[in-house]
Amino acid sequence: MDTTQEIIDAKGFARTVTRLSHEIIERNKGAETIGIVGIRTRGDYLARRISHAILDSEKVAVPFGTLDITLYRDDLRGRLSQPRLKTTDILYDITGKNIILVDDVLFTGRTIRSALNALMDLGRPASIQLAVFVDRGHRELPIKADFVGKNIPTSSDQEISVLMTETDGQDAVLLITHIQEGEVR
């Protein structure tokens, strides 16, 4: 038996994207120096939303790209099934830019470590700032987000699921709790 709790609904989702985009602009004193990179798959869509929100408020089209971190994962070996390799699609030079790295959920920090290595192989950005939609804790590496949509402290039997219209038909953040058979809660 699993229980599902909706933490953020569609309206809250849109507000959070807007707030994140404002925080990013504020920190970087405008949008002229920044480039956005989303981590496939949902970070990619989230990054697109944020860049649209920046375009709306600042009237600046921020360069946008997507990053596939598969080749940089630390768990590539010893998996029964290999993750399907997708393409990194960053058509601008990241060197000298303030790169906003976007992902949906910040958990162990291992994905971000991979993404940092992948980005460094593409150039030398002026800075890399991390924006995540949900920070659920349980870090295994010394990594911290610069912009957080929502902090949701979780336990290890819980799961955060960020749903997006592009892939799931709706915008929402769900907290799923796995309850073992016979366990009293």
Binding site: L71, R77, G78, R79, Q82, L85, D121, L122
Partner: protein, 306 residues
Amino acid sequence: MKLASRHLLGLDGVSHQDIELILDTAVSFKEILNRPIKKVPPLQGKTIVNLFFENSTRTRISFELAQRRLSADVVNFAASGSSVTKGETLKDTARNIEAMKIDMVVIRHASAGAAHFLTQVVKANVINAGDGCHEHPTQGLLDMYTLREKFGSLKGLRVCIVGDILNSRVARSNIFGLQTMGAEVSVCGPSTLMPREIERLGVKVYHHLDDVLPHVDAVNVLRIQLERAAAGLFPSLREYHRFFGVTSERLAKVNRPIAVLHPGPINRDVELSADVADGPHSLILEQVLNGVAVRMAVLYLLGLSE
């Protein structure tokens, strides 16, 4: 996602799904080849030996680049000047190399079945880089990748392989792979260089280039080994060029562009006239670049299979 086999010995029997997985994976690697830093870490700590018992420049360099760009450690072995000239057997050579903790072996050998034999005696993943007149699967894959990139899909694509079909491992790998992917394959060459009963592989056989050119989207022109003329299989290189050379005059007779592939190295003005090789419909240099991407895909997919 995972390949069905932990070796790549040929394209005969490799499924549609697996070929598609390799070609799709290669798309991602081609993007890496266009970066300023053309190196990614997935095969870090893996050691690969390139066992080349036959001369090769392009294939060996292509494999080595692919391996290095995946961060693997590479050992090269050429038969000349090695223990092979002292009479060591393939089995002993392979087992001795494996004793040094090798993860993958890429082998080229003059005997058909050499790669298959290796899989029986070593534990490493084996990739066939050409075995006799049998198969050269990575060449077949890179030809297919190049065609797919150019035409969008291999399904229904009409491809003619021109030249020495009898002695060509490239022809065999192309026939098997292209047919699996739904392409329509024909072959064209002098009857002395055409294997008997080749029709049984499901290919149409032509002996005149002008008969087949109006019916194809692409020609894959094979290299004529110059010593074949000496063996009396055709009278002279000049005559071969006259009857089977792919020339701009011949291609011009067909009122639409035909893509031209060649596995290299080219004998200019024998199987392919120089203006076609350098012409706008030649995909030859694309093939070379794609070769590295496709080999990276194969090494990556096999190297991480447990």
